[in-house]
Point group: D2
Chain length 121, copies 4
């Protein structure tokens, strides 16, 4: 099992928090962090400035990313899923879904002519 | 650096996908997965049945969890953040924020009398 | 056109804000409000207490609901969509999608045996 | 009360759906629609092309916008909130929060020097 997932599991068991970890609450927890991250970059359209403002507020960005992983681990725990297995499955799937020759330097938005082995428009 | 973050980084470098990885797109990618997970459990109010339906659809749940980590890694990459450092920071912060004696068997919703060292109502 | 959509349109035209209203930013704006609403009800599992805490914090809930409509209007404006037409389309679609005889007192989660004329499991 | 909110209320009463309308489910319903909208525009960075692809897929965009309003109305119903009152409050608040002379042609992201009467960095 993922080392961090295990630590987070232990943290919550020590507090008897399992009773609160309805998947709906955990999904909404991730949402809240996404909203906080959005605040750093909102309305800016220039990719270079977006990159710059995130780097200037790296601690806040790091905080959101750590918190999203936290809720994701709890979600995995609530479903008896090993987060490492889930990640390995996604990586393997994406290798098939996005072959290099069809996706090199191209996005995968099928509405805009991209290739995605999973969906067709 | 987190082993999976590194693999995902390499995967995207091989496809020159950095140009598409605006944090806004990555945050919205996580959102889409949350929407898919929601579909499995929506409208059901009984925690036992929620748990049961997730276990019955474990592959789909696993898929969402892996994909959320995928986008989270890309987000971390786009900000030059080591996801392991972010997680360790969150765990350390939560130890201070939620001391066992104040949060044992209690949720942390301050609107409902819970304890949260970060926020007061 | 929806009266409020029109007012919000004028508000933004007076400030030349169209340049910032990328749909990605507007979608993420809605996300942020959802995260704020979540804070009022998080971790609580009893539907009666959830209802009670929202009523006790009605101004905050109202604020989130108004703000979500605000971003939704801007999203509609950015796509030249009349929000009233969109709503009428949804209502009409849902009448076909969820006939009373098949959905009366039943949820529409197909993973749990519900009826949804749009999706099959 | 908003005419559509009332129609949607009646629609759900005819099906006895109140029992399923936990605010958590309704918030996650909006999330799912945002994920669907994201699919139309994902990875594209050019604002003109984003605008174009939304117009080319206007029915899908309209569908998402109508569905978001649908869930928003149900959320308001579940909290005994009149959606029109909520919108009017937001418009009034934003007039104070974003005075024209301080926000004309400027975004409101305080991390990037914008003006927001509600938050300071």
């Amino acid at each position: 099992m993922n080392k961090y997932q295990e630590q987070i599991k232990k943290f919550c068991e020590e507090r008897n928090w399992g009773q609160f970890h309805n998947p709906k609450d955990l999904l909404l927890g991730i949402i809240e962090e996404i909203g906080e991250f959005r605040n750093i970059i909102k309305w800016e359209q220039d990719p270079e400035i977006i990159k710059k403002v995130v780097l200037e507020n790296k601690e806040e960005a790091k905080d959101c990313i750590g918190d999203i992983f936290w809720f994701l681990s709890l979600l995995a725990n609530s479903c008896d899923i090993d987060i490492n297995e889930a990640i390995e499955m996604t990586i393997k799937d994406n290798e098939k879904r996005f072959p290099i020759d069809k996706t090199n330097s191209k996005h995968t938005n099928i509405y805009l002519g991209g290739h995605d082995g999973k969906y067709k428009k």
